[in-house]
Amino acid sequence: MEKRLFSVISLLLIALMVMSGCSGNQQPQQTQSSGQQEQQPSPSGEETIKIGFFAPVTGPAAADGESALNSAKLAVETINNAGGILGKKIELVDYDDNFKAEQAVSIAQKLTTSDKVVAVVSGSYSNPTRAAAPVYQQAKIPMVSAYAEHPDITKAGDYIFRQSFVGPIQGRAGAEVAVKKLGAKKIAVLQVDNDFGASLVEGFKERVAKLGGEVISVDTFQLGEKEFTPLLTKIKNENPDLIYMVAYAVEGSQIVRQMKQLNMTVQLLGTEGIDATKEFFGVLGKDVEGLVFTTNLNRDDTRKVTQDYIKNYTEKYGFAPDMVGASVYDSFMVLAEAIKLSGQATPDAIKDGMYKIHDFDAVTGVITSYNKLGEVIKPVQVQTVKNGEIHFFDEITDMEIIAPPDIQ
C-alpha cells in the first residue's frame, strides 16, 4: 500500500520533470525569468522580431478568433512585404486560447519565457486578456489588447496598452448619438450580460442622463441567446424612441430580425459588438437598413491605410474585414510604429515607444496618443447602413467623451 503511494508520487514527479524539461530544452541558458531581454538571433540565423499573439480560434468565440488571426497574419505580411522594421522581419508566434482564461495565462508564460517575444497582441476577449495581463506586466513584455473591453486590463501596469476604447467611452458616444443626433428621449436598453455590455451601458446611462434623455428600461440577456421575442414584445409595449443594443453579432442579428418579425420600426442603435461583416451583416443581408452603430472602423475613411486594409483583407480572405480584425491589425501597426520611434526592438524600448506615439495614422482612425494608463485616445466612429452597405454617419471627437480614464 505504501509502495503504491510512492509510485503515485514518483510518477507525478517524473511528469513534472518531463514538463519542466520540455520548457528547459527550449531555453537552455535561461535559468532566471526575464532577467536580460537582449534581442537574440533566431536559430535560422536571420534576425527577426518575434511578436506573440493569442485569440480564441476554437471554442464559442471562434468566429472572432478567426477574424483576429486573419488580420494578425495580414498585418505581419504587410509589414514584412514593406521591408520589415529596422531591417528585420516580423515573426508571428500565434496561439489559440480556446476562450479560456487558464490557457491565456499559460500562453503568456510560453510567449514570455520560452518563445521570448518582444511584444504581444491580445486578439481575445476580456476574461483571458485580463487574466494574462499581469503575467506580461511582470515579465515586462508590452501587450496591446486589441478589442477587450474590461477597464481593469490596463490597470495591470505600464506595459499594458489598449487599442480599442474602454467600455464607458463608447457608451458615452452612443448616448451622444442617441440623444443629440437621433433625437431620442425615451430609450430602452437591451444588453448582453458580460463586462462588455455592463461597461458600455454604464457610460451610456450616465451620459443620457446628462443630456436630458431617459433610459426607461434595461433588459439583459446571456451570451449565445437566440430568442428575443419575449423581451422585444415587452419593449414594444413600452414604446421607446430608440433601442440601444449592446450585443455581439450573433445575438444582434437575431434582435434585428425578430424586431422586423414583430413589425417594430423603432430606431436601433448598435455598438462595435455587431461590427462583424460575416456574422452580422452576412446573416442579415439587406434587412438592416437604417441601423446606426458606434465602432472604430470607418468604412468611408478615405485615408490610404484604411482603404488598403479593407482591400487587402477582402482580397486575401474573400470577405470584408470587421472591427475585430481592424483592431488587431492596428495593434500590430502600432507596435511596429513604437519600434520605429524608439529605434530598437526590445520590450522596454517598445513600451517607451508606445508612449511616444503621436497622431499615428491607423486603420481605425488617427490615434492622438496613448495616455499614462495605456489607453488609446482616438475618435469614436459612428456608422450607418445604407443600401446594404456600411457608411459614415458621424464621428465623435469631443474630448469630454472620448478621454479615457488615466492614472491620477
Binding site: V8, S33, Y95, A101, N127, A131, D152, D193, A198, Q222
Partner: protein
C-alpha cells in the same frame, strides 16, 4: 516558467479530479456540478482576500469550508433523487451558482473579481511558490484519500456505490455517508478554488461553467474512478493534451473529443482503474499481499 504554469494548472485540476472522485468514484454519486464548488471556493477567496484583505491561510480554509457546507446542503437535498436525476440536479445547481455569480453585484457580477497577488510573511509568492503550495495541498488530499480508502468510511462508501440496499442492511447509514462524501469532496474543491483564485488573479463566472465540471469529471473518469492515481493521471493526460497538441492548434478540440471517445470505448474503467490494461499488468507484477494494516 511555462512548465511551472502548466504544472500549476494540471495540479489544480488534479486536486479537483481527486475531489469529484470521492463523490463519484468512491461513493458512486454522479456529480456533474463540481465546478460550482470550485467556483464557490474561488469567489470566497476573491471576496476575503480582495475585498477584506484576509490572509492566505484563513482564506484557504474558509473557502474550503464554505464550499463544503454548501456541498453538504446539496448532498442533503440530493438524497431525494438518484442516479440520472441526481446527475441532472447537479448540472442544474451548477447553472444556478454561475447565474448568481454573474448577476449579484457583491460577486462582481459581469465584471468579475480581482484577487491581489499571493503574499506569505510579507513576501510575494511567485509561480514556483504557488506550485509548491499546490503540490503540498495535493499531497494532503492524496494522503487523506489514502487513509479514507483504508478505513471504515472508505469501505462504507464503496459498498454504497456497489449496492445501496445491501450496504444499508449491514448497518451503514447510506444517507449519512452520501452526505459526508459530498461534504468532503466539495470541501477539497473549495480549497482548489481558493488556490486557483490566487493563481489567476482574476475570476469570472465563465470559468466555473458546466463545461468545467465536465472537464473535471472527464479527468477522473479517463484516469480511473475510485482510484487515487487515476484522477491524477487523468488530469495530467487531459490537462496536458491542449498544450501538447498546440502544434496542431486547429485540431486540438477534435483530438480532445476523440481521446474521450476512444478512452471510453476501449478502457471504460479508465487508464489505471480496476480491470484496465495497466492495472492488470501491475496486478501480475506485484506479489500477492494480504493487505493487512498493522
Amino acid at each position: 516558467m511555462y512548465g511551472i504554469v502548466v504544472a500549476i494548472n494540471v495540479g489544480i485540476f488534479a486536486i479537483l479530479a481527486l475531489s469529484v472522485n470521492i463523490i463519484t468514484g468512491y461513493a458512486g454519486q454522479p456529480n456533474l456540478g463540481q465546478a460550482s464548488f470550485f467556483g464557490i471556493g474561488a469567489y470566497t477567496t476573491a471576496i476575503l482576500a480582495g475585498k477584506y484583505g484576509v490572509g492566505f491561510l484563513p482564506s484557504l480554509i474558509i473557502s474550503g469550508f464554505i464550499a463544503g457546507i454548501v456541498g453538504l446542503l446539496l448532498g442533503l437535498a440530493s438524497l431525494r433523487v438518484r442516479d440520472d436525476f441526481l446527475a441532472i440536479t447537479t448540472i442544474g445547481f451548477n447553472f444556478v451558482v454561475v447565474a448568481i455569480f454573474q448577476y449579484v453585484p457583491f460577486f462582481g457580477a459581469s465584471m468579475g473579481l480581482s484577487i491581489p497577488p499571493l503574499k506569505l510573511f510579507g513576501y510575494p509568492v511567485g509561480y514556483v511558490g504557488l506550485f509548491i503550495i499546490i503540490l503540498l495541498l495535493m499531497l494532503l488530499v492524496i494522503l487523506f484519500t489514502k487513509r479514507m480508502e483504508r478505513s471504515w468510511i472508505g469501505i462504507a462508501l464503496v459498498s454504497i456505490r456497489n449496492n445501496e440496499e445491501a450496504a444499508e442492511s449491514l448497518g451503514i447509514d447510506t444517507r449519512k455517508f452520501k452526505v459526508i462524501s459530498f461534504g468532503i469532496g466539495t470541501l477539497i474543491a473549495g480549497f482548489a478554488g481558493s488556490v486557483y483564485a490566487y493563481y489567476m488573479g482574476f475570476i469570472m463566472s465563465y470559468n466555473f461553467q458546466f463545461m468545467t465540471s465536465i472537464t473535471i469529471l472527464s479527468m477522473a473518469v479517463v484516469g480511473g474512478l475510485g482510484t487515487i492515481a487515476g484522477p491524477i493521471i487523468g488530469a495530467i493526460v487531459l490537462g496536458l493534451a491542449p498544450e501538447i497538441f498546440r502544434f496542431v492548434s486547429d485540431y486540438r478540440l477534435l483530438i480532445y473529443g476523440a481521446i474521450l471517445i476512444l478512452m471510453m470505448s476501449f478502457q471504460p474503467q479508465g487508464l489505471v482503474g480496476d480491470g484496465s490494461i495497466f492495472a492488470n499488468i501491475v496486478r501480475k507484477l506485484r506479489p500477492k499481499t494480504s493487505g493487512v494494516d498493522q
